[in-house]
Symmetry: C2
Subunit: 318 residues, 2 copies
């Protein structure tokens, strides 16, 4: 089958079909999204070798439990052992022996087919298009903030970064009742956010006053975002760090300690609430798709993403 | 009066007596403790100029409210405006226009006399010696963790750093019901902790296994402590950062995000619970005093602290 394969560099490569382990389904990938983490993998993040890709929607073509046959599905990306204390607490996302599709020791979705445990699958409601369903994983990651924190109605939140993740996080917090300010540098992206009732602030030309928000979210995907999120948070406030990047972060330890700030790492989330938001159209994802490439133009798709103005770029395997 | 004065360098200097503002008491300092923050100030922390010192016990010699006259007191170091929303919430420690004695825009206690608002004073119970009372401020800082987090009985906690603050934090958490492991490099300090029923581990020779504790506390006072505290914490665990130092901290952002760790800055605490612990002898402070110097040997006292084996060094103005 055709795939994008990373081994020092990303290439378009013919590879053998995935082998389906017991309890797994074989899935024909329909569409896949390119994420910031994929681009970090190309820089060395997680020392991954193989087929990247963890945002996808597909159709089950082989399975153990017949109920999945032919179903359109998305899949939770952490493949947990199912036996340890983390798994027992429903936190397979933190299982110490887990693999992660396209990120840690497991082939991903930038290919014609992918295998995943049936336990990881979620059926996609008919109302949700392929283009929307492919956002389930990043939307779940945005929803994770709601699992970790209680957002009181009207809470003033700054989301730093007007990229793909920032626009999803801003919408998720807005629909949860927060008063959201998106801080970014791209007029077109912030204009989009404005149409959703989100305040916007361009920090390319001016600086927002320090210590202005009880909650800030770094969704920039770069080391500088944390410093800004920390600068903007009030004493005793919370900074949510959603950026994963390859390398060390640097921050003002004095501000963290003196202002008694809580810095909260936040990663993958639950798929069910994300699918609900898509089904109920409480978030808008369609305008986030800048361009769609067929799989055999996958390298061009990665090139294209280097443009600042690109939001979500999809691969289409249909 | 005699004082230690910092202006590019620390000198012993004759300065005018403090002027007592309305609502303030004039206090004859009895004893003062040298803190890690004082040593950071000498390196440039908080750009302080003047008399440092914020750990003290003294006796009121002039005051507005006669009830304070002649009383032996300790004093909360943050001098807040009393009117803002932070002050209204009982969080004068975060008042944006506050001064901080010996740290931010206000003379400290390394002198014969100091002036402080009467609202900041706490009478020292007779049972508490001068040598113990001088620990109220750092002990309050250790107790702050209990204000910020709920410690369930038996919670396994690693305290990193076997210095003054580490030994106080370990005791405070132990008496609150935690199962505490002190991780340090100094045999004599860790032997002391053992006598309090605290587990000890010398990380100078071997490395504790990663992801071993749901809660870790960085009390090293150095940038390296945070990395170790982060390495030792479990997924979804909490790292409390108690170190204040001059400069930026560096840490593994991937670990924070992927393991969804909470990093919590923690600074000054309430004096009342700290005085209670001293009165009820639930913590032991006497063995932490390595040496006591008269004020006019204050420069030698700072020199002496550069020895690794020194714990708390006091100045005696009695």
């Amino acid at each position: 089958m055709k795939s994008l394969y990373f081994d020092k560099e990303l290439t378009l490569r013919e590879v053998p079909m995935p082998t389906r382990a017991p309890g797994e389904a074989l899935i024909k990938v329909l569409m896949a999204g390119i994420c910031g983490t994929d681009r970090e993998i190309l820089k060395g993040y997680s020392a991954f070798r193989g087929i990247p890709g963890h945002e996808f929607v597909g159709r089950v073509v082989e399975c153990e439990d017949p109920k999945w046959m032919g179903k359109r599905v998305v899949g939770e990306i952490n493949i947990a052992c199912g036996h340890c204390s983390w798994c027992a607490r429903g936190l397979g996302r933190h299982c110490p022996t887990r693999t992660v599709m396209g990120i840690v020791n497991r082939p991903g979705a930038f290919a014609e087919y992918v295998a995943l445990p049936e336990a990881n699958l979620y059926a996609v409601p008919d109302l949700v298009t392929d283009q929307a369903a492919v956002f389930t994983e990043p939307l779940a990651a945005a929803c994770e903030i709601l699992e970790q924190l209680t957002i009181s109605p009207g809470t003033r939140v700054a989301v730093i970064g007007d990229g793909r993740l920032g626009l999803l996080v801003a919408q998720v917090l807005k629909q949860a009742g927060a008063e959201v300010t998106l801080i970014g540098r791209h007029g077109s992206k912030m204009n989009l956010a404005k149409t959703w009732g989100i305040h916007v602030f361009n920090d390319g030309t001016q600086e927002f006053a320090a210590s202005s928000f009880p909650l800030t979210v770094d969704a920039t995907g770069s080391p500088g975002g944390l410093s800004e999120a920390l600068r903007l948070v009030e004493p005793r406030g919370t900074v949510v760090m959603k950026s994963t990047f390859h390398g060390a972060a640097n921050f003002d330890a004095t501000k963290l300690v003196v202002d008694e700030v809580t810095l909260l790492g936040s990663r993958c989330g639950l798929f069910a609430p994300a699918l609900d938001l898509l089904k109920l159209r409480r978030v808008t994802v369609q305008p986030l798709i800048t361009k769609t490439f067929p799989l055999n133009q996958g390298l061009e798709a990665f090139e294209y993403l280097n443009q600042n103005s690109a939001l979500k770029v999809l691969l289409d395997m249909r």
